[in-house]
Point group: C2
Chain length 377, copies 2
Amino acid sequence: MAELHQKIVGYDLWYLKLPVTSRRDHGIGSVAGTCEVVVLRLTSEDGTEGFGEASPWSVFTGTPEATYAALDRYLRPLVIGARVGDRAAIMQQAMHAVAHCTEAKASLETALIDLAGRISGVPVWSLLGGRCRDAIPLSCSIANPDFSQDIELLARLREDGVRIVKLKTGFKDHAFDIMRLEHIAQNFPEFSVRVDYNQGLEIEEAPNRVRDVAGFKPDFIEQPVRSHHYGMMAKLRQMFDVPLLADESVFGPEDMERAAREGICDGVSVKIMKSGGLTRGQTVARIAAAHGLTSYGGDMFEAGLAHLAGTHMIAATPEITLGCEFYQASYFLREDILEDPFQISKGQVVVPTGPGLGGRPDISKLNRYAVATAVAA
Amino acid sequence: MAELHQKIVGYDLWYLKLPVTSRRDHGIGSVAGTCEVVVLRLTSEDGTEGFGEASPWSVFTGTPEATYAALDRYLRPLVIGARVGDRAAIMQQAMHAVAHCTEAKASLETALIDLAGRISGVPVWSLLGGRCRDAIPLSCSIANPDFSQDIELLARLREDGVRIVKLKTGFKDHAFDIMRLEHIAQNFPEFSVRVDYNQGLEIEEAPNRVRDVAGFKPDFIEQPVRSHHYGMMAKLRQMFDVPLLADESVFGPEDMERAAREGICDGVSVKIMKSGGLTRGQTVARIAAAHGLTSYGGDMFEAGLAHLAGTHMIAATPEITLGCEFYQASYFLREDILEDPFQISKGQVVVPTGPGLGGRPDISKLNRYAVATAVAA
């Protein structure tokens, strides 16, 4: 226990641009070329290291520049010299030390728990309430504007044992969405299909398009309209019997409480990059469950380090029942940053059992992909 | 009219650190040393220039780093090559091109209207609906942890004809707030007093402290608790007959609609840096008025260029009835950035009548205070 009284003495940052293998189009924007993330390393007095990843998306949670500045300038002073064990106090301060920047706060909490876990010799999930599952069903997103490439991806996923896909819709025309739903239903019938608009629909077109899509009986339809369009979300939820999920409409517990109260959704995408940390992510899932709503573990365009954080969070949160989406390290990045690959087996993410996150980034990869760093010599 | 079909060909940025004369403590944080703002200059094909200022505050709206990146990387592509007259289209795209960064969006709209106004030879207020007032009562904030310095400021304000002050409370102990309220009531009875907690109170202490302060019958009491504490805001509003105003709880029209519906306030602080533009600021004031709520023109830690934008917005918005707070250029910055001083006369901000904003920054000052720039050679 005394070891958790150690102070945090090292605080290093890498701003990475990671090459990706394909283009991803979502309702609110696209990612192509590179995926930009920031990695934080905390070091305690005995030399133990804890890592966290911030995975911003400029059109959704914030920009990588804002993330890097939040970590480098605004959060650093709260952490240097603080005690490893004082995570709740540090995160309470972090919440208000800088506006927005939820990804930066998520990376900070990840690194704090990783560090505490490594010092204590226990996995991150044991510090978040203990484990409720040792594997998490994986959903992979179908989001390529060139559907022929996604057909190849679907074949690869089938081979790999993945049985859930999420079709990203609303970034091209409606006929393209219907064509892809039909193709998947006919040629890949073993897949459960989810549909995600990422806010891509205008209010005037949403009811008709969502009706057509609901006819395919997907597992759920996610965030058809803009995050603030709570009224239309509530209406769409009532119109169809397919569950309606909220993503951009719900960042943290404050949004979740309101979303549940206003009846805008049947469930929610829980993402640590939105909630501003693993603990707040758990709270979102628990508020949802208290209202009889379901949830799954979503993510941003992440590398494997953030996947690990999300995996531990879901492993310790029984309320998150609809699996996860941690596919990018394996199916999107040209090369992940972890020393050992992020583990997926038979379409399930494997919950690590080692100390801390159970995995760490390869420093040589961080240095290779860094476009900016703040690393002590 | 054809002149408004010109394209925007120049897009230059200055990230400034402006020295300030004193320390300002608010419930959510402090500003001391320098005030960081970003200035945008747009240039049209005929060489006309339009300016806008983004005035972020890291604990409130966002960081200056996020603002600069938003303008430099994410908003620039929407603007270069766009037509000067297409402001509504540009702002519609800007709203979704980058998450948060409302200050960056406000500076963009300011520069677009300034440019259109200069090209058309009309003031900004004429492009926002026409003028409803030619002067705006000024409120100056009392926020120095060293109250003796604020007593000197109060004497100077009295001399200058200013008759409204806002006492910033909740950053030290309750006795300090009560002492200052008593001192002002006794020694400066000619002043109308407003009270602003800037979220400084915990939920458990808010009712008692606000009750004590309400006993002084201030014009209003603003934002005693955290922005998300809508429930406590609604309760405090019912407890006292002094009007309760929302600031951090209401950024844009989406928040205002909800705040009015949930009955959390009697009025709102309208700030272009929160709403993400002048037009959206007008909308906030109009939603408030439609609900029978009042509003005043607030600001962030701004230089005179942002003050000018706010002045034109208020000049064209009859619904904003409680004056403004554009004091920083005159009473806080060591030196403002405008070529000609921001005009205050007998405690009233003077609404400019020249083309565009009716004032422009001194480029030599921008260059002197810049810590980063993106200026075409």
